[in-house]
Amino acid sequence: MLKCFTDNRFNTHGQRLTVHFDSPNLYGAVPEVSPAKGDPSSAHRPINTTTIMAVEFDGGVVIGADSRTTTGAYIANRVTDKLTKVHERIFCCRSGSAADTQAIAEAVSYQLGFHSIELDEPPLVQTAANLFKQMCYRYREELMAGIIVAGWDKRKGGQVYTVPMGGMLVRQPVSVGGSGSSYIYGFIDSNYKTGMTKEECLRFTADALALAMERDGSSGGVVRLAAITEAGLERSVILGNQLPSFSA
């Protein structure tokens, strides 16, 4: 159970103040990952066992996700938005426990906002990724969160960083995550090529997500896409009946 949370504020004397919160209410309680057997409260917390994906291209990134949140066998939300903004040009794709990932994203979003005020310039994607990693690694026993961080910054352009469960951090040109990702590794490996344009990336992501949603019971609904570049953000949705279809 998450016992404390560090809040970096300044006190009235301008000194940095580290406050430890014992209350779970500020950032939302982090649920126990493995409740005792027979425990009635172990019925089903909302999870985004899901399919998420991010691809780098020259000038930005394309991110995508399905839209299903399940509590056990019930689809609690069939139009979920798993692409969460943590800063103007930095997004994260969330998979795993819905509560955990929402809490982490909120916390990182706060830390990034503060950091960017200190720096007086937009934060780096690598910074955001490291903040996610620090939290996911430190609380790895309590959390169930697989996150892909993607965005654009002035220094390195479009970048994708994956922070899977356990808290590793690695940059990849293409990254997939969530339960549906296993089914599309072969497709990704065979279809990805370097030097794709934004439109090709969007197409590639939509195809891959559609294939995963077809096979994974925990993924489905609509495909949410976003393209992040220097110019800004373009979000789009592909509805169920408009998904690319494959002959099988």
């Binding site: 590794y185 072969g186 990704i188 490996d189 065979s190 294939l211 077809e214 096979r215 002959s247």
Partner: protein, 198 residues
């Protein structure tokens, strides 16, 4: 991992790793067992169980074909395996893909899962590495491919699976079964196609 397609020709294919615990005991094993002249079985799961079951099936099929005075149907072969798998489901841990050619229905592919389910499909994949290529197989399969297209599709799919599954690897075995006969194709690891990350 075992993909398979059914068309005028049927390439059967598999990779050849055998494990005891985490030790690779054999890198060249052939997981395609011939149960009759034009009927083959791809095995997955416990190799001991699979070998025992296919030996039994081979015997039953040869007896059946003598009684019927004709080669057995592919469906019959698959049924025999299914009976064995289903009736001994508690003890066994083996899954099969049965494929072959017969005069009644031409080329066919049947999956016999670990619990003993039997279904007929235009093509199928199985084994631990198969999860990684569901997306690829769904995207790339089209009905009525030619023999070369089939072989290429199978090789590509297996290569991608080997690339992601740590317990698949070694040599790729394929068998092409047609009305005219059976041809065994072997592709060693270094001759497999390369994808972007290599």
């Amino acid at each position: 991992e075992i993909p398979q397609h059914s068309l005028p020709v049927i390439p059967d294919s598999t990779t050849s790793l055998a494990l005891s615990g985490s030790y690779v005991s054999n890198k060249m094993i052939n997981k395609l067992i011939q149960v009759h002249d034009k009927i083959f079985c791809c095995i997955a799961g416990s190799l001991a169980d699979a070998q025992a079951v296919t030996k039994m099936a081979k015997f039953q099929l040869s007896f059946h074909s003598i009684q019927m005075e004709a080669p057995p149907l592919v469906k019959a072969a698959a049924s025999v395996l299914k009976e064995l798998c289903y009736n001994n489901r508690e003890e066994l841990q083996a899954g099969f893909i049965t494929a072959g050619w017969d005069r009644k229905r031409g080329p066919q592919v049947y999956t016999v899962s670990m619990g003993g389910m039997l279904i007929s499909q235009p093509f199928t994949i199985g084994g631990s590495g198969s999860t990684f290529i569901y997306g690829y197989a769904d995207a790339k399969f089209k009905p009525d491919m030619s023999r070369e297209e089939c072989l290429q599709f199978t090789t590509n799919a297996l290569t991608l699976a080997i690339g992601r599954d740590n317990v698949s690897g070694g040599v790729v075995h394929m068998v092409v079964i047609t009305e005219d006969g059976v041809e065994h194709v072997v592709v060693p690891g270094d001759k497999l196609p390369k994808f972007h990350d290599e």
